[in-house]
Protein backbone atom coordinates (compact mmCIF):
# COMPACT_ATOMS: atom_id res chain seq x y z
CA UNK A 1 0.00 0.00 0.00
CA UNK A 2 1.11 3.51 -0.70
CA UNK A 3 0.23 6.15 1.90
CA UNK A 4 -0.18 9.87 1.14
CA UNK A 5 -0.37 12.32 4.01
CA UNK A 6 -1.25 15.93 3.29
CA UNK A 7 1.62 18.01 4.64
CA UNK A 8 -0.50 21.06 5.38
CA UNK A 9 -3.96 22.27 4.55
CA UNK A 10 -4.33 23.75 1.05
CA UNK A 11 -6.44 26.84 0.43
CA UNK A 12 -6.52 26.99 -3.35
CA UNK A 13 -7.99 24.15 -5.44
CA UNK A 14 -5.44 21.41 -6.00
CA UNK A 15 -6.11 19.55 -9.25
CA UNK A 16 -4.80 16.09 -8.37
CA UNK A 17 -6.12 13.79 -11.06
CA UNK A 18 -2.78 11.98 -10.94
CA UNK A 19 -3.83 10.36 -7.68
CA UNK A 20 -5.15 7.08 -9.02
CA UNK A 21 -3.94 3.50 -8.91
CA UNK A 22 -3.47 3.51 -12.69
CA UNK A 23 -1.25 6.60 -12.69
CA UNK A 24 0.73 5.50 -9.65
CA UNK A 25 1.29 2.04 -11.10
CA UNK A 26 2.46 3.63 -14.34
CA UNK A 27 4.91 5.84 -12.43
CA UNK A 28 6.15 2.92 -10.32
CA UNK A 29 8.48 4.21 -7.61
CA UNK A 30 7.67 6.65 -4.79
CA UNK A 31 10.25 8.99 -6.24
CA UNK A 32 8.53 9.13 -9.62
CA UNK A 33 5.09 9.34 -8.03
CA UNK A 34 6.28 12.37 -6.02
CA UNK A 35 7.22 14.08 -9.26
CA UNK A 36 3.79 13.70 -10.89
CA UNK A 37 2.33 17.06 -11.88
CA UNK A 38 -0.54 18.78 -10.15
CA UNK A 39 -2.02 22.24 -10.52
CA UNK A 40 -2.25 24.37 -7.42
CA UNK A 41 -4.42 27.23 -8.52
CA UNK A 42 -2.76 27.92 -11.85
CA UNK A 43 0.72 26.87 -10.83
CA UNK A 44 2.10 23.59 -12.06
CA UNK A 45 3.75 21.80 -9.14
CA UNK A 46 4.74 18.32 -8.01
CA UNK A 47 2.58 15.98 -5.96
CA UNK A 48 5.41 15.47 -3.48
CA UNK A 49 5.28 19.14 -2.57
CA UNK A 50 1.88 18.61 -0.98
CA UNK A 51 1.98 15.04 0.26
CA UNK A 52 4.37 12.92 2.29
CA UNK A 53 4.41 9.70 0.22
CA UNK A 54 5.51 6.31 1.54
CA UNK A 55 5.07 2.65 0.66
CA UNK A 56 4.59 0.74 -2.56
CA UNK A 57 1.85 0.61 -5.18
CA UNK A 58 2.49 -3.06 -5.97
CA UNK A 59 -0.72 -4.29 -4.31
CA UNK A 60 -2.78 -1.61 -6.05
CA UNK A 61 -3.84 0.17 -2.86
CA UNK A 62 -3.62 3.87 -2.02
CA UNK A 63 -4.44 5.44 1.33
CA UNK A 64 -4.75 9.23 1.59
CA UNK A 65 -5.02 11.04 4.91
CA UNK A 66 -5.82 14.68 5.65
CA UNK A 67 -8.30 17.41 4.89
CA UNK A 68 -8.63 17.07 1.14
CA UNK A 69 -11.68 19.32 0.77
CA UNK A 70 -9.78 21.50 -1.73
CA UNK A 71 -8.25 18.58 -3.58
CA UNK A 72 -10.11 17.83 -6.81
CA UNK A 73 -10.40 15.01 -9.33
CA UNK A 74 -8.85 12.31 -7.17
CA UNK A 75 -9.24 8.88 -8.76
CA UNK A 76 -10.00 10.20 -12.23
CA UNK A 77 -10.48 7.41 -14.80
CA UNK A 78 -9.22 4.79 -12.35
CA UNK A 79 -9.76 1.26 -13.61
CA UNK A 80 -8.52 -1.03 -10.83
CA UNK A 81 -7.23 -1.20 -7.27
CA UNK A 82 -8.41 0.42 -4.07
CA UNK A 83 -8.27 4.11 -3.22
CA UNK A 84 -9.09 4.84 0.40
CA UNK A 85 -9.44 8.35 1.76
CA UNK A 86 -9.58 9.30 5.43
CA UNK A 87 -10.87 12.85 5.49
CA UNK A 88 -13.12 15.19 3.53
CA UNK A 89 -12.62 15.31 -0.25
CA UNK A 90 -13.14 17.98 -2.89
CA UNK A 91 -15.04 18.06 -6.14
CA UNK A 92 -15.02 15.57 -8.99
CA UNK A 93 -13.92 12.60 -6.91
CA UNK A 94 -13.73 9.41 -8.99
CA UNK A 95 -14.65 11.17 -12.21
CA UNK A 96 -14.84 8.61 -15.02
CA UNK A 97 -14.23 5.69 -12.65
CA UNK A 98 -14.08 2.48 -14.67
CA UNK A 99 -13.22 -0.14 -12.05
CA UNK A 100 -11.76 -0.78 -8.63
CA UNK A 101 -12.96 0.73 -5.37
CA UNK A 102 -12.99 4.22 -3.92
CA UNK A 103 -13.70 4.33 -0.20
CA UNK A 104 -14.11 7.59 1.67
CA UNK A 105 -14.33 8.01 5.43
CA UNK A 106 -15.47 11.61 5.38
CA UNK A 107 -17.60 14.00 3.36
CA UNK A 108 -17.39 14.50 -0.38
CA UNK A 109 -18.04 17.70 -2.30
CA UNK A 110 -20.00 18.14 -5.57
CA UNK A 111 -19.81 16.14 -8.76
CA UNK A 112 -18.96 12.79 -7.22
CA UNK A 113 -18.50 10.05 -9.83
CA UNK A 114 -19.30 12.14 -12.88
CA UNK A 115 -19.02 9.92 -15.96
CA UNK A 116 -18.48 6.76 -13.93
CA UNK A 117 -18.90 3.53 -15.89
CA UNK A 118 -17.88 0.81 -13.43
CA UNK A 119 -16.41 -0.01 -10.04
CA UNK A 120 -17.59 0.84 -6.56
CA UNK A 121 -17.70 4.04 -4.53
CA UNK A 122 -18.47 3.91 -0.81
CA UNK A 123 -18.78 7.17 1.11
CA UNK A 124 -19.12 6.98 4.86
CA UNK A 125 -20.33 10.57 5.12
CA UNK A 126 -22.36 13.16 3.22
CA UNK A 127 -22.05 14.13 -0.45
CA UNK A 128 -22.70 17.46 -2.17
CA UNK A 129 -24.75 18.29 -5.24
CA UNK A 130 -24.76 16.58 -8.63
CA UNK A 131 -23.48 13.23 -7.42
CA UNK A 132 -23.40 10.71 -10.26
CA UNK A 133 -24.92 13.32 -12.57
CA UNK A 134 -24.23 14.17 -16.20
CA UNK A 135 -22.07 17.18 -16.81
CA UNK A 136 -23.84 20.23 -18.20
CA UNK A 137 -24.77 19.56 -21.81
CA UNK A 138 -23.95 15.87 -21.67
CA UNK A 139 -26.68 13.37 -22.47
CA UNK A 140 -25.72 10.70 -19.96
CA UNK A 141 -24.77 10.53 -16.32
CA UNK A 142 -23.14 7.43 -14.91
CA UNK A 143 -23.29 4.36 -17.11
CA UNK A 144 -22.47 1.66 -14.59
CA UNK A 145 -21.06 0.72 -11.21
CA UNK A 146 -22.33 0.94 -7.66
CA UNK A 147 -22.31 4.07 -5.47
CA UNK A 148 -23.13 3.74 -1.78
CA UNK A 149 -23.53 6.85 0.35
CA UNK A 150 -23.90 6.24 4.04
CA UNK A 151 -25.19 9.77 4.61
CA UNK A 152 -27.14 12.47 2.78
CA UNK A 153 -26.68 13.96 -0.69
CA UNK A 154 -27.48 17.33 -2.22
CA UNK A 155 -29.55 18.14 -5.28
CA UNK A 156 -29.56 16.47 -8.70
CA UNK A 157 -28.49 13.03 -7.56
CA UNK A 158 -28.04 10.66 -10.50
CA UNK A 159 -29.24 13.11 -13.10
CA UNK A 160 -29.53 11.40 -16.49
CA UNK A 161 -27.91 8.22 -15.24
CA UNK A 162 -27.95 5.54 -17.93
CA UNK A 163 -27.11 2.49 -15.85
CA UNK A 164 -25.80 1.57 -12.39
CA UNK A 165 -26.97 1.49 -8.80
CA UNK A 166 -26.97 4.35 -6.31
CA UNK A 167 -27.85 3.93 -2.66
CA UNK A 168 -28.30 6.86 -0.26
CA UNK A 169 -28.88 5.84 3.33
CA UNK A 170 -30.17 9.25 4.46
CA UNK A 171 -31.76 12.22 2.68
CA UNK A 172 -31.49 13.38 -0.92
CA UNK A 173 -32.13 16.91 -2.18
CA UNK A 174 -34.29 18.18 -5.01
CA UNK A 175 -34.49 16.54 -8.43
CA UNK A 176 -33.12 13.18 -7.33
CA UNK A 177 -33.13 10.89 -10.33
CA UNK A 178 -34.13 13.65 -12.71
CA UNK A 179 -33.83 12.60 -16.34
CA UNK A 180 -32.84 9.05 -15.46
CA UNK A 181 -32.56 6.92 -18.59
CA UNK A 182 -32.08 3.63 -16.74
CA UNK A 183 -30.63 2.34 -13.49
CA UNK A 184 -31.69 2.06 -9.87
CA UNK A 185 -31.64 4.55 -6.98
CA UNK A 186 -32.41 3.73 -3.37
CA UNK A 187 -33.06 6.69 -1.05
CA UNK A 188 -33.60 5.65 2.53
CA UNK A 189 -34.35 9.08 4.00
CA UNK A 190 -36.39 12.07 2.91
CA UNK A 191 -36.32 13.17 -0.70
CA UNK A 192 -36.67 16.73 -1.98
CA UNK A 193 -38.77 18.22 -4.73
CA UNK A 194 -39.56 16.57 -8.05
CA UNK A 195 -37.90 13.15 -7.75
CA UNK A 196 -37.66 11.48 -11.14
CA UNK A 197 -38.54 14.58 -13.13
CA UNK A 198 -38.26 13.74 -16.83
CA UNK A 199 -37.07 10.21 -16.16
CA UNK A 200 -37.51 7.82 -19.09
CA UNK A 201 -36.92 4.42 -17.53
CA UNK A 202 -35.28 3.20 -14.36
CA UNK A 203 -36.35 2.83 -10.75
CA UNK A 204 -36.29 5.11 -7.72
CA UNK A 205 -36.95 3.22 -4.48
CA UNK A 206 -38.01 5.42 -1.58
CA UNK A 207 -38.41 4.39 2.01
CA UNK A 208 -40.59 7.39 2.79
CA UNK A 209 -43.45 9.00 0.88
CA UNK A 210 -42.08 12.09 -0.92
CA UNK A 211 -43.58 15.47 -0.11
CA UNK A 212 -44.97 15.57 -3.62
CA UNK A 213 -45.01 13.57 -6.83
CA UNK A 214 -45.01 15.42 -10.12
CA UNK A 215 -48.38 15.51 -11.90
CA UNK A 216 -46.70 13.89 -14.89
CA UNK A 217 -46.44 10.67 -12.86
CA UNK A 218 -49.41 8.30 -12.52
CA UNK A 219 -50.32 6.17 -9.54
CA UNK A 220 -49.98 2.58 -10.78
CA UNK A 221 -51.02 0.33 -7.91
CA UNK A 222 -49.42 -1.44 -4.98
CA UNK A 223 -47.42 -4.65 -5.20
CA UNK A 224 -44.51 -6.63 -3.86
CA UNK A 225 -41.45 -6.19 -6.09
CA UNK A 226 -39.20 -9.20 -5.44
CA UNK A 227 -36.31 -7.49 -7.16
CA UNK A 228 -35.97 -5.19 -4.12
CA UNK A 229 -35.23 -8.22 -1.91
CA UNK A 230 -32.67 -9.34 -4.45
CA UNK A 231 -30.94 -5.95 -4.57
CA UNK A 232 -30.89 -5.69 -0.79
CA UNK A 233 -29.33 -9.15 -0.46
CA UNK A 234 -26.74 -8.42 -3.12
CA UNK A 235 -25.73 -5.05 -1.67
CA UNK A 236 -25.69 -6.15 1.97
CA UNK A 237 -23.59 -9.20 1.17
CA UNK A 238 -21.03 -7.40 -0.93
CA UNK A 239 -20.73 -4.02 0.73
CA UNK A 240 -20.66 -2.57 4.26
CA UNK A 241 -24.26 -1.46 4.21
CA UNK A 242 -27.42 -2.37 6.12
CA UNK A 243 -30.86 -1.50 4.79
CA UNK A 244 -33.81 -0.81 7.08
CA UNK A 245 -35.58 -4.06 7.96
CA UNK A 246 -38.95 -2.87 6.76
CA UNK A 247 -37.75 -2.75 3.17
CA UNK A 248 -37.40 -6.52 2.83
CA UNK A 249 -40.52 -8.34 1.69
CA UNK A 250 -42.48 -5.11 1.77
CA UNK A 251 -45.26 -3.85 -0.47
CA UNK A 252 -44.65 -0.69 -2.49
CA UNK A 253 -46.82 2.01 -4.00
CA UNK A 254 -45.88 2.47 -7.62
CA UNK A 255 -45.89 5.67 -9.63
CA UNK A 256 -45.11 5.44 -13.33
CA UNK A 257 -43.61 8.34 -15.23
CA UNK A 258 -42.46 10.73 -16.31
CA UNK A 259 -45.19 10.86 -18.95
CA UNK A 260 -43.62 13.99 -20.38
CA UNK A 261 -40.98 11.51 -21.52
CA UNK A 262 -41.43 7.74 -22.13
CA UNK A 263 -43.38 7.12 -18.96
CA UNK A 264 -41.54 3.84 -18.36
CA UNK A 265 -39.77 4.92 -15.19
CA UNK A 266 -41.07 4.07 -11.75
CA UNK A 267 -40.98 5.50 -8.26
CA UNK A 268 -41.58 2.85 -5.63
CA UNK A 269 -42.59 4.02 -2.18
CA UNK A 270 -42.30 1.53 0.65
CA UNK A 271 -45.56 0.92 2.53
CA UNK A 272 -45.69 0.24 6.25
Amino acid sequence: MIVLQLKERVFLPLEAEVISVDKFAEAGSVDRISKLSVFYGRDKMELGEFFKIEGSIEDGRILIEGDLSKVKRIGKDMSWGVLEIHGDVGMHLAEGLRGGKVIVKGNVSDWLAMGMSGGLIYVDGNVGNLACASYWGEKRGITGGVVLINGSVGDDLGRRMRRGTIVVMKDAGDFAGAGVIAGTLFIMGKVGKAPGAEMKRGTIVLLEEPSSILPSFRYSGEFRPYFVDFYISYLERNFPIKFPDKLRGSYFRRYMGDFLQLGKGEILVCLD
Binding site: P225, Y226, D229
Partner: protein, 297 residues
Protein backbone atom coordinates in the same frame (compact mmCIF):
# COMPACT_ATOMS: atom_id res chain seq x y z
CA UNK B 1 -14.05 -50.74 2.49
CA UNK B 2 -15.64 -53.18 4.92
CA UNK B 3 -17.76 -55.23 2.52
CA UNK B 4 -16.87 -58.19 0.31
CA UNK B 5 -15.92 -57.13 -3.20
CA UNK B 6 -17.26 -60.42 -4.60
CA UNK B 7 -20.79 -59.07 -4.20
CA UNK B 8 -19.93 -56.46 -6.81
CA UNK B 9 -19.98 -57.76 -10.33
CA UNK B 10 -16.90 -57.11 -12.41
CA UNK B 11 -18.67 -54.96 -14.95
CA UNK B 12 -19.13 -51.33 -15.90
CA UNK B 13 -21.79 -48.69 -16.22
CA UNK B 14 -21.92 -47.00 -19.58
CA UNK B 15 -22.44 -43.25 -19.33
CA UNK B 16 -22.99 -40.56 -21.93
CA UNK B 17 -21.90 -37.03 -22.71
CA UNK B 18 -24.68 -34.55 -21.93
CA UNK B 19 -25.15 -30.82 -21.38
CA UNK B 20 -26.23 -29.57 -17.99
CA UNK B 21 -27.41 -26.44 -16.20
CA UNK B 22 -28.16 -25.51 -12.61
CA UNK B 23 -31.21 -23.40 -11.79
CA UNK B 24 -31.82 -21.73 -8.44
CA UNK B 25 -35.50 -21.31 -7.66
CA UNK B 26 -36.39 -19.11 -4.70
CA UNK B 27 -39.74 -18.28 -3.16
CA UNK B 28 -41.34 -16.73 -0.14
CA UNK B 29 -41.03 -20.10 1.64
CA UNK B 30 -39.25 -23.38 1.08
CA UNK B 31 -42.63 -24.96 0.45
CA UNK B 32 -43.26 -22.85 -2.64
CA UNK B 33 -39.70 -23.12 -3.90
CA UNK B 34 -40.07 -26.89 -3.67
CA UNK B 35 -43.46 -26.85 -5.35
CA UNK B 36 -41.94 -25.06 -8.31
CA UNK B 37 -38.85 -27.30 -8.33
CA UNK B 38 -40.99 -30.45 -8.27
CA UNK B 39 -43.03 -29.13 -11.14
CA UNK B 40 -39.85 -28.15 -13.03
CA UNK B 41 -38.34 -31.60 -12.56
CA UNK B 42 -41.56 -33.46 -13.27
CA UNK B 43 -41.63 -35.73 -16.31
CA UNK B 44 -37.87 -35.45 -16.61
CA UNK B 45 -36.72 -38.96 -15.79
CA UNK B 46 -35.10 -39.99 -19.04
CA UNK B 47 -34.05 -38.34 -22.29
CA UNK B 48 -35.59 -41.32 -24.05
CA UNK B 49 -39.02 -39.70 -23.92
CA UNK B 50 -38.87 -36.61 -21.71
CA UNK B 51 -36.38 -34.49 -23.64
CA UNK B 52 -34.24 -34.04 -20.55
CA UNK B 53 -33.33 -35.46 -17.16
CA UNK B 54 -33.75 -33.24 -14.14
CA UNK B 55 -33.79 -33.46 -10.39
CA UNK B 56 -33.56 -31.49 -7.20
CA UNK B 57 -29.95 -31.22 -6.07
CA UNK B 58 -30.72 -29.79 -2.62
CA UNK B 59 -32.65 -27.15 -0.76
CA UNK B 60 -30.90 -23.86 -0.03
CA UNK B 61 -31.07 -21.67 3.05
CA UNK B 62 -31.81 -17.93 2.61
CA UNK B 63 -28.09 -17.24 3.16
CA UNK B 64 -27.25 -19.33 0.11
CA UNK B 65 -29.66 -17.80 -2.39
CA UNK B 66 -29.21 -14.61 -4.42
CA UNK B 67 -32.28 -12.88 -3.01
CA UNK B 68 -32.04 -14.04 0.59
CA UNK B 69 -35.15 -16.19 0.42
CA UNK B 70 -35.44 -19.97 0.77
CA UNK B 71 -34.55 -21.80 -2.40
CA UNK B 72 -33.95 -25.02 -4.25
CA UNK B 73 -31.11 -25.99 -6.53
CA UNK B 74 -32.21 -27.94 -9.58
CA UNK B 75 -30.02 -29.68 -12.15
CA UNK B 76 -31.17 -30.35 -15.68
CA UNK B 77 -29.42 -32.37 -18.38
CA UNK B 78 -30.08 -32.90 -22.09
CA UNK B 79 -28.29 -34.49 -25.01
CA UNK B 80 -27.57 -31.17 -26.78
CA UNK B 81 -27.33 -27.44 -26.06
CA UNK B 82 -30.35 -26.84 -28.24
CA UNK B 83 -32.32 -29.51 -26.40
CA UNK B 84 -31.34 -28.00 -23.07
CA UNK B 85 -32.32 -24.52 -24.19
CA UNK B 86 -35.70 -25.77 -25.34
CA UNK B 87 -36.36 -27.56 -22.06
CA UNK B 88 -35.23 -24.62 -19.92
CA UNK B 89 -37.50 -22.30 -21.84
CA UNK B 90 -40.49 -24.58 -21.40
CA UNK B 91 -39.85 -25.51 -17.79
CA UNK B 92 -38.96 -22.06 -16.46
CA UNK B 93 -41.84 -20.60 -18.44
CA UNK B 94 -44.41 -23.15 -17.33
CA UNK B 95 -43.23 -24.30 -13.92
CA UNK B 96 -41.35 -21.40 -12.32
CA UNK B 97 -42.95 -18.28 -13.79
CA UNK B 98 -46.38 -19.73 -13.03
CA UNK B 99 -45.66 -20.66 -9.41
CA UNK B 100 -46.59 -18.10 -6.72
CA UNK B 101 -43.79 -15.90 -5.31
CA UNK B 102 -40.90 -17.59 -7.15
CA UNK B 103 -37.80 -16.05 -8.70
CA UNK B 104 -35.29 -17.83 -10.92
CA UNK B 105 -31.50 -17.48 -10.98
CA UNK B 106 -28.55 -19.09 -12.69
CA UNK B 107 -26.63 -21.48 -10.45
CA UNK B 108 -23.76 -22.40 -12.76
CA UNK B 109 -20.93 -20.08 -13.71
CA UNK B 110 -19.79 -20.97 -17.18
CA UNK B 111 -18.45 -19.25 -20.26
CA UNK B 112 -21.21 -20.84 -22.32
CA UNK B 113 -24.64 -19.45 -21.53
CA UNK B 114 -28.21 -19.80 -22.73
CA UNK B 115 -30.21 -16.58 -22.80
CA UNK B 116 -33.51 -17.94 -21.60
CA UNK B 117 -34.76 -14.69 -20.06
CA UNK B 118 -34.50 -12.95 -23.41
CA UNK B 119 -37.43 -15.03 -24.60
CA UNK B 120 -39.48 -15.38 -21.41
CA UNK B 121 -39.46 -11.60 -20.90
CA UNK B 122 -41.98 -11.23 -23.75
CA UNK B 123 -44.62 -12.61 -21.43
CA UNK B 124 -44.56 -9.13 -19.91
CA UNK B 125 -46.15 -7.82 -23.10
CA UNK B 126 -43.91 -4.75 -23.21
CA UNK B 127 -44.26 -3.90 -19.50
CA UNK B 128 -41.24 -6.00 -18.49
CA UNK B 129 -38.27 -4.12 -17.06
CA UNK B 130 -34.64 -5.13 -17.09
CA UNK B 131 -32.06 -4.59 -14.37
CA UNK B 132 -28.32 -4.86 -14.79
CA UNK B 133 -26.42 -5.66 -11.61
CA UNK B 134 -22.79 -6.74 -11.37
CA UNK B 135 -22.67 -7.37 -15.11
CA UNK B 136 -25.68 -9.67 -15.11
CA UNK B 137 -29.05 -8.85 -16.60
CA UNK B 138 -32.29 -9.64 -14.81
CA UNK B 139 -35.87 -9.36 -15.99
CA UNK B 140 -38.81 -8.17 -13.95
CA UNK B 141 -41.90 -9.56 -15.60
CA UNK B 142 -45.23 -8.22 -14.34
CA UNK B 143 -47.70 -10.97 -13.38
CA UNK B 144 -51.06 -10.96 -11.62
CA UNK B 145 -49.49 -11.90 -8.29
CA UNK B 146 -46.88 -9.12 -8.49
CA UNK B 147 -43.72 -9.70 -10.45
CA UNK B 148 -41.57 -12.57 -11.61
CA UNK B 149 -37.83 -11.91 -11.35
CA UNK B 150 -35.49 -14.00 -13.45
CA UNK B 151 -31.89 -13.91 -14.48
CA UNK B 152 -31.44 -13.62 -18.23
CA UNK B 153 -28.57 -16.05 -18.86
CA UNK B 154 -27.96 -19.55 -17.57
CA UNK B 155 -24.59 -21.27 -17.61
CA UNK B 156 -24.34 -24.54 -19.47
CA UNK B 157 -21.52 -27.04 -19.54
CA UNK B 158 -20.72 -30.52 -20.67
CA UNK B 159 -21.87 -33.18 -18.23
CA UNK B 160 -22.18 -36.92 -17.69
CA UNK B 161 -25.47 -38.78 -17.83
CA UNK B 162 -26.45 -42.37 -17.35
CA UNK B 163 -24.07 -43.49 -14.64
CA UNK B 164 -25.90 -46.35 -12.97
CA UNK B 165 -25.94 -49.28 -10.61
CA UNK B 166 -28.26 -52.29 -10.47
CA UNK B 167 -29.23 -53.79 -7.14
CA UNK B 168 -30.10 -57.48 -7.41
CA UNK B 169 -31.82 -59.12 -4.45
CA UNK B 170 -33.91 -61.92 -3.11
CA UNK B 171 -37.07 -59.85 -2.74
CA UNK B 172 -38.72 -56.61 -3.80
CA UNK B 173 -38.58 -55.47 -0.17
CA UNK B 174 -34.85 -56.11 0.08
CA UNK B 175 -33.87 -54.31 -3.14
CA UNK B 176 -36.18 -51.40 -2.38
CA UNK B 177 -34.69 -51.05 1.11
CA UNK B 178 -31.18 -51.15 -0.34
CA UNK B 179 -32.03 -48.71 -3.12
CA UNK B 180 -33.50 -46.24 -0.63
CA UNK B 181 -30.31 -46.38 1.42
CA UNK B 182 -28.25 -45.95 -1.74
CA UNK B 183 -30.27 -42.91 -2.78
CA UNK B 184 -29.94 -41.33 0.65
CA UNK B 185 -26.17 -41.82 0.62
CA UNK B 186 -25.52 -40.59 -2.90
CA UNK B 187 -27.68 -37.48 -2.55
CA UNK B 188 -24.95 -36.06 -0.33
CA UNK B 189 -22.77 -35.60 -3.41
CA UNK B 190 -22.79 -32.12 -4.94
CA UNK B 191 -23.27 -31.71 -8.69
CA UNK B 192 -25.24 -34.95 -9.06
CA UNK B 193 -28.93 -35.78 -9.38
CA UNK B 194 -30.90 -39.00 -9.56
CA UNK B 195 -33.60 -38.21 -12.11
CA UNK B 196 -36.05 -41.06 -11.57
CA UNK B 197 -38.95 -41.15 -9.06
CA UNK B 198 -37.41 -41.15 -5.60
CA UNK B 199 -34.09 -41.70 -7.38
CA UNK B 200 -34.99 -45.30 -8.25
CA UNK B 201 -35.86 -47.06 -11.53
CA UNK B 202 -37.74 -50.32 -11.61
CA UNK B 203 -37.87 -50.53 -15.39
CA UNK B 204 -34.29 -50.40 -16.62
CA UNK B 205 -34.16 -50.52 -20.38
CA UNK B 206 -32.05 -51.89 -23.17
CA UNK B 207 -31.54 -50.26 -26.53
CA UNK B 208 -34.11 -51.27 -29.17
CA UNK B 209 -36.90 -53.80 -29.22
CA UNK B 210 -38.34 -56.54 -31.29
CA UNK B 211 -40.83 -53.85 -32.32
CA UNK B 212 -39.15 -51.66 -34.91
CA UNK B 213 -40.92 -48.48 -33.81
CA UNK B 214 -39.58 -48.68 -30.25
CA UNK B 215 -36.21 -47.12 -29.27
CA UNK B 216 -35.95 -48.85 -25.89
CA UNK B 217 -37.58 -51.77 -24.17
CA UNK B 218 -37.41 -53.68 -20.90
CA UNK B 219 -33.94 -54.85 -19.89
CA UNK B 220 -34.72 -58.54 -20.41
CA UNK B 221 -31.39 -59.79 -19.03
CA UNK B 222 -32.30 -58.40 -15.62
CA UNK B 223 -36.00 -59.36 -15.50
CA UNK B 224 -36.10 -62.31 -13.08
CA UNK B 225 -39.14 -64.00 -14.61
CA UNK B 226 -37.62 -64.03 -18.11
CA UNK B 227 -34.72 -66.36 -17.27
CA UNK B 228 -36.07 -68.93 -19.68
CA UNK B 229 -35.62 -66.53 -22.58
CA UNK B 230 -32.35 -64.79 -21.70
CA UNK B 231 -28.65 -65.44 -21.28
CA UNK B 232 -29.11 -66.59 -17.70
CA UNK B 233 -26.52 -64.23 -16.19
CA UNK B 234 -28.80 -63.35 -13.31
CA UNK B 235 -27.45 -64.96 -10.10
CA UNK B 236 -29.42 -67.69 -8.46
CA UNK B 237 -32.05 -66.50 -6.00
CA UNK B 238 -32.55 -63.05 -7.55
CA UNK B 239 -36.24 -62.25 -7.57
CA UNK B 240 -36.11 -58.48 -8.11
CA UNK B 241 -33.78 -55.81 -9.51
CA UNK B 242 -33.81 -52.02 -9.09
CA UNK B 243 -31.63 -49.47 -10.84
CA UNK B 244 -30.30 -46.08 -9.77
CA UNK B 245 -29.27 -43.60 -12.47
CA UNK B 246 -26.80 -40.76 -11.85
CA UNK B 247 -26.36 -37.57 -13.87
CA UNK B 248 -23.71 -35.04 -12.91
CA UNK B 249 -21.44 -32.24 -13.97
CA UNK B 250 -18.28 -34.33 -13.73
CA UNK B 251 -17.20 -37.94 -14.01
CA UNK B 252 -15.65 -37.67 -10.54
CA UNK B 253 -18.95 -36.57 -8.99
CA UNK B 254 -20.88 -39.37 -10.71
CA UNK B 255 -18.30 -41.93 -9.59
CA UNK B 256 -18.41 -40.65 -6.02
CA UNK B 257 -22.20 -40.90 -5.95
CA UNK B 258 -22.05 -44.44 -7.37
CA UNK B 259 -19.44 -45.45 -4.80
CA UNK B 260 -21.50 -44.14 -1.87
CA UNK B 261 -24.64 -45.76 -3.27
CA UNK B 262 -22.98 -49.14 -3.57
CA UNK B 263 -21.49 -48.94 -0.08
CA UNK B 264 -24.93 -48.15 1.35
CA UNK B 265 -26.74 -50.87 -0.59
CA UNK B 266 -24.39 -53.81 -0.67
CA UNK B 267 -24.63 -54.83 2.96
CA UNK B 268 -28.42 -54.65 3.16
CA UNK B 269 -29.84 -58.04 4.00
CA UNK B 270 -31.24 -59.76 0.95
CA UNK B 271 -29.00 -58.02 -1.56
CA UNK B 272 -27.30 -60.67 -3.70
CA UNK B 273 -25.30 -58.62 -6.15
CA UNK B 274 -24.54 -55.09 -7.33
CA UNK B 275 -24.22 -54.79 -11.09
CA UNK B 276 -24.47 -52.06 -13.71
CA UNK B 277 -26.13 -51.46 -17.05
CA UNK B 278 -24.14 -51.14 -20.24
CA UNK B 279 -24.44 -51.61 -23.97
CA UNK B 280 -21.21 -53.47 -24.50
CA UNK B 281 -19.23 -50.27 -24.34
CA UNK B 282 -20.26 -49.28 -27.85
CA UNK B 283 -22.70 -46.45 -27.20
CA UNK B 284 -21.54 -44.34 -24.27
CA UNK B 285 -18.42 -42.22 -24.07
CA UNK B 286 -17.64 -43.30 -20.49
CA UNK B 287 -17.24 -46.79 -19.06
CA UNK B 288 -17.31 -46.70 -15.27
CA UNK B 289 -15.99 -49.95 -13.86
CA UNK B 290 -17.61 -50.73 -10.53
CA UNK B 291 -14.63 -52.40 -8.91
CA UNK B 292 -12.39 -49.47 -9.80
CA UNK B 293 -14.54 -47.02 -7.82
CA UNK B 294 -12.46 -47.67 -4.70
CA UNK B 295 -9.10 -47.31 -6.37
CA UNK B 296 -7.01 -44.79 -4.53
CA UNK B 297 -9.50 -44.47 -1.66
Amino acid sequence: MSFKMDKIKDTFAEAFKMYGARIIITAVSEKWALESARSFTGFATSVIACGCEAGIERTLSPEETPDGRPGVSVLIFAMSRKGLEDQLLRRIGQCVLTCPTTACFNGLESEEVLSIGKSIRFFGDGYQMSKLLDGKRYWRIPVMEGEFLMEESYGVKKAIGGGNILILGESVDAVLRAAEKAVEASRKVKDVILPFPGGIVRSGSKVGSKYKFLKASTNTDFVPQLRAHTSGDLPKGVKSVLEIVFDGFSLEAVKEAMRLAIEAAVEVEGVIQISAGNYGGNLGQYNIYLRELWEGS
